[in-house]
Amino acid sequence: MATSSQITPIIRSFGQAEMQCAANLCRPVPTVASTDTNATVRDLFDQHRELISLPVVDGTRVRGLIKRHTFQSEMAKPFRQELHEHKSCVAFMDRQPLVIEADTSLERTAKLVADSQTNALADGFLVVRDNEFLGIGFGLDLMGKVADLQEAKNRQIMQSIDYASVIQRAMLQTSQEVLKAELPNSAIVWQPRDTVGGDFFQCAKFDQGVFIAMGDCTGHGVPGAFMTLISSSWLAQALERDDPANPAQLLGTLNHKIKQSLGQIGSRAVGEQSDDGLDALFMWINLRDRVVTYAGARMPLHVLSVGAEMASTHETDRVGVGYVATPIDYRWTNRTLSLQQNDLLYAATDGLTDQIGGPRNISFGKRRLRQLLHDYREMPAPVQADAIVQAHVEYQGQHRRRDDVSLICLRVP
């Protein structure tokens, strides 16, 4: 009978997920010694139906692993039962099972199991501490724990990004309040693709009018958000010195500052050099005279005048702010439009117009945007913005969001 079999205790030391190691995978299973017979092994497999493998341990030394399926198929052959029943159980034992040190990390364990030649994922592996048998680990438990570990790491990163989002939103909040105060019939949509994003807007009030900027920095997610902080800080600083009524000059200053601070002027090794920057539209709205002066870097201004049938799209300079290819002294162009009361102005990042969707799997497009502006022109700006967002979501359908999406719309008071 199974006199020498024993139950290995479960090791219950559930510390932090990242501290877990192979020892945490040990399951309590019966063991046999090499002096035990195949009859004992057969009885143990019969008694413990869930038992996949049976470790062979002499004292504390691991000898091998008897696998249920191998053992049973061997014993099922003619005369094997009679021949081997009273012989040592080492006959059908795998002499070189996967053996893992107790303090091996879970990731390392998973790698060893996956690489093992012995099908350790299905049959289990032996865990030892200083050559002393500790227990047996199974593939399913390992997968469960590795999944938990991934989830914990994921959660940690997401919590960090969620908090970064609080900071990014706080920065945008101030501008939103300025816009609402100066142009009550206005709306801002800011939808980062990945919790934080590379789009930003900035509004500042001056005696003669309001300065409004919309920016779309390289990338999205965390690198994009880094770029918005750099851009927004330099822009705030530039607004203290430069003339807010000269958006082209402000773009030039921002270009200079970004290229300088990210080292895009010197001759750093290719690959180490940052080639980042932003698309942008800067507007100065003189509220008393109802005039908008705008300058842009690859971002158009859409205008729907009171008397016009459809919105017109005013393209801007096709040169990005920052980026290695943009000259340090590049001068953007100011353009001026006279406005009437109730004219509508819109700025959107390309995430809005370039989103893939619809029945033909093509971009949302500027034409569709202009049509929406036309359809909702009588509505207050917040209603228009909601309608555009709604139409955009419906257009996107089951497709992945490709980029951050931002929109400013305002009605001239």
Binding site: T353, S363, K366
Partner: protein
């Protein structure tokens, strides 16, 4: 001519990168799908190196057929695409005959407009506007 020894380049499309099918031996270069990899510079870096090696071996006797059928590319990919067309344009300025077939859905104003920009910016290329419904 080193095109006889150039290995062709094929990269299958992924969720965020296009199919790249550069048959240097046949002088046919194709980009197809969408492009918004997390690191566009890394994705296009080696492609550009191989393209430049290939172009260095082309002369007035070569006609290169370039087929582009992209439905989406983000801003960083746009920059890399400009570098791609710039390289082709330089080759064309040296006398290499480069035909750029710009394929897009006729309803897709975004891609259509981008094609017009390319035609203006890279005048040495023989640009063929091909709005074809799929």
């Amino acid at each position: 001519m080193n095109d006889a020894t150039m290995e062709n380049l094929y990269l299958p499309a992924t969720a965020d990168s296009p199919e790249v099918d550069f048959r240097f031996d046949a002088h046919e270069l194709t980009l197809k799908g969408e492009s918004y990899p997390e690191n566009a510079a890394a994705f296009y870096g080696s492609i550009m190196r191989q393209l430049n090696d290939y172009l260095a071996g082309c002369d007035e006797s070569t006609t290169i057929k370039v087929d582009i059928a992209l439905i989406y590319f983000n801003s960083s990919s746009t920059k890399m695409l400009f570098a791609f067309f710039e390289a082709l344009n330089s080759a064309a300025e040296r006398g290499v005959h480069v035909v750029l077939n710009w394929h897009y859905d006729p309803e897709d104003d975004t891609i259509g407009d981008f094609g017009s920009e390319l035609r203006d910016d890279f005048s040495a290329l023989e640009f063929r506007d091909l709005p074809t419904a799929s």
